[in-house]
Subunit: 121 residues, 2 copies
């Protein structure tokens, strides 16, 4: 499977997941699959791009204070849940879910899919 | 119970929780309870202060893209798990756990404790 198939597969297998991206930590999107209705009025693609700044800040804070590398980042807002997971030091995967979405399954799928995506980088 | 007792109570009731803070979104700490051994070499207090920048960035990105207010933020690094939850628009609570800590319980305790802390602000 290529990147896109992995992203599609996460969206298809997880209740409430409506977008999944492979992103550079520098904020440059590699690929995104938008596979369902998200929350009304939410611009999901730019949101996921902007969240890359969180990754960079979190990494810097963690490294400065001896906490090691970032593994996972989760942001819940009133309208969207996002879970991001490092794939390699330069790339991460992120999935966006509706508030009632299956967060546990999204985390599990990211955990098992990340090594497969990494193998293709 | 005052702030400190609420923070202590979360640390005491959750396996792996070793620090709990009430913080301003501006990065100014209101109160912190450090109640156990954290990961070796991790400076937990400055880490929690620096993570306030994540809150501000996440809030800005979410508002710009129509995703509403931040509810919860979770950061997992190799040595520390942190879960932060908004208490009011100006304050959030954050708990730090060792990697094997009980994340589900920490989230639950934050959810039930946040309104009690809010009532005291």
């Amino acid at each position: 499977m290529g990147f896109r198939e992995h992203l599609q597969s996460i969206c298809k297998s997880c209740e409430g997941a409506f977008a999944c991206s492979l992103m550079g930590v520098d904020g440059i999107e590699v690929d995104t699959h938008v596979g369902g209705d998200g929350a009304e009025g939410v611009d999901v693609k730019p949101l996921l791009v902007e969240y890359s700044g969180l990754f960079r800040s979190a990494r810097e804070s963690a490294q400065l204070n001896g906490a090691g590398e970032i593994v996972e980042l989760f942001v819940e807002t009133e309208k969207v849940l996002t879970v991001a997971r490092m794939v390699s030091p330069e790339y991460y995967m992120v999935v966006a879910l509706t508030p009632g979405g299956n967060l546990g399954k999204a985390r599990f799928l990211m955990r098992v899919t990340a090594p497969k995506v990494k193998a293709e980088l």
